[in-house]
């Protein structure tokens, strides 16, 4: 277990703590302390979190990518107590050292937009285009770009093939839409809330994990398919890291 301090700046404060708290909970982090103060750009929310080390990076990525987060900074460890009446001039955890490059980069939207028509044309044979996308973006932008490509593809596949019918519960949407949709691209099994992806062409042993694409794909589908949008999708393990399959968890 490791402690982490995250500071974000947002234009509005209402609901911000709840939304970011859900992300932290989804990544098995516990909120130890939170502090919100006015800032010149809006509101500064400081979260002190504790959770498993392997969840830190996905959680940071999810928080940094949240639409309400305008600025983001992260540091290992916890801040020392400070008065709420004195807004901090800048993110400065006293006993922590700042991780260099701790802010996950955003997606290379231009490259994703360039690749998407080819994905649509050749769907479901998308692996070569995703490998192409991976090579055309920087390492820092890789995960976010894959995620964006996955989300757009998932939304498109849903509207094309699965839109007709009632809105479903999460369990039914996974079983009747997500798994059949993924099975069009790769071999997939479902065991409860876990989705096992076998032999993914974009997650080969020793390579960079491409599971962000599948996470985005599933999110793109569930956003459209669910009656109530309360869910999270988490990359649990990846073939690129030596495990036999890629495993994603989908839960509410």
């Amino acid at each position: 277990m490791a402690d982490l301090t995250i500071q974000v700046i947002s234009e509005r404060r209402d609901g911000l703590l709840i939304e970011l708290g859900r992300i932290a909970t989804a990544h098995r982090h516990v909120l130890l302390r939170q502090r919100m103060v006015r800032d010149t750009q809006g509101y500064r929310l400081t979260l002190e979190l504790r959770g498993p080390g392997e969840e830190q990076l996905p959680m940071q990525e999810a928080i940094a990518a949240h639409p309400r987060v305008q600025d983001y900074e992260c540091a290992q460890g916890r801040t020392e107590n400070r008065s709420d009446a004195a807004p901090a001039p800048g993110p400065s955890p006293a006993t922590a050292k700042t991780e260099s490059g701790s802010r996950p980069a955003s997606a290379n939207t231009a490259e994703v937009e360039r690749i998407l028509p080819s994905i649509a044309k050749d769907y479901p044979k998308v692996t070569p285009w995703l490998i192409n996308l991976g090579k055309s973006v920087s390492a820092a932008q890789f995960a976010a770009s894959m995620h964006l490509a996955g989300k757009r593809t998932g939304t498109w596949v849903y509207k094309r093939d699965f839109a007709r019918g009632a809105r479903l519960s999460l369990a039914d949407a996974i079983k009747r839409i997500v798994v059949p949709a993924l099975n069009g691209q790769v071999k997939v099994d479902q065991k409860g809330q876990w989705i096992y992806i076998h032999d993914s062409g974009i997650c080969t042993p020793g390579s960079t994990s491409g599971c962000a694409f599948y996470r985005g794909f599933i999110e793109g589908i569930l956003e459209q398919a669910l009656a109530t949008p309360l869910y999270f999708v988490r990359e649990s393990s990846c073939r690129a890291n030596g495990t036999p399959h890629c495993i994603l968890e989908v839960s509410d």
Partner: protein, 245 residues
């Protein structure tokens, strides 16, 4: 009096029922996607009319033509028209309930009951439209069973249509609904006991529409359904092609 069935026409009645159900359920899937209430109402009426008119009404009268009662049969025109309207209205209301409120058990029960009663009601109204030198009595147990079959299978077909996705949904829901309609009809026919009328009437003066003329009307209904199915298919292909990623 024994009823003898032309097997080819019996099979045709099932095929028409499945085909009509398929088209109607595909049209019904558009109901939740309608952007305005007037479009939604139109989709409800169109899908309910195809279900009631093609899947149920056309199937019933093909099956009646398939049934040789040993006497000439005509059909009372007003009652025949009312039977079609009953089926269309009941199906429209049932489809509207599920499309608007989802397929929770309570909604399925209400919608399935409405559709099932519509299916069965149309059948017995169609039987009442028979103009022939026969007297009919009914086995109450089998009549009740026919209603139960219609309601249960309607619920199943609605659930399949709105919850499944893809090929399974299209094929399975249509077959289930076809089985519902045919199962109900032939159970209802099994419930009927026909005896020669005590006071025979001259059928040349009896009025109504003959089986042969009715067949032409049924043919027209099936053609309209086929056109609707083709239209749905073309529209879906066009929408698919226009959808951008």
């Amino acid at each position: 009096m024994h009823q003898h069935y032309d097997v080819a026409l019996v099979i045709l009645s099932f095929v028409v029922s499945v085909f009509g159900s398929f088209t109607a359920l595909q049209l019904a899937l558009n109901i939740p996607l309608a952007s305005t209430s007037s479009k939604r109402t139109m989709e409800v009426i169109v899908s309910g009319s195809v279900m009631g008119g093609a899947a149920i009404w056309a199937m019933h009268f093909i099956a009646m033509i398939a049934c040789n009662m040993g006497v000439p049969v005509h059909y009372d025109i007003p009652l025949t028209i009312v039977s079609a309207l009953l089926a269309m209205v009941a199906c429209s209301v049932g489809l509207a309930v599920v499309a608007a409120n989802g397929s929770r058990p309570a909604n399925l029960l209400l919608a399935g009951t409405l559709m099932g009663v519509g299916v069965a009601g149309m059948h017995y109204l169609g039987m009442a439209a028979i103009v022939a030198n026969v007297e009919m009595s009914f086995n109450v147990t089998l009549v009740v069973l026919s209603f139960v079959i219609a309601i249960a299978a309607s619920m199943a077909a609605l659930w399949l249509a709105f919850n499944l996705r893809g090929t399974a949904q299209m094929a399975g829901s249509a077959v289930v609904m076809g089985v519902a309609v045919c199962g109900m009809h032939y159970t209802g026919m099994a419930a009927v006991m026909m005896t020669a009328a005590r006071n025979a009437v001259d059928m040349t003066q009896a009025g109504g529409i003959s089986g042969g003329s009715l067949a032409l009307v049924i043919f027209a209904v099936v053609c309209v359904t086929l056109i609707a199915a083709l239209g749905v298919n073309l529209k879906r292909r066009q929408q698919r092609a226009e959808l951008t990623i």
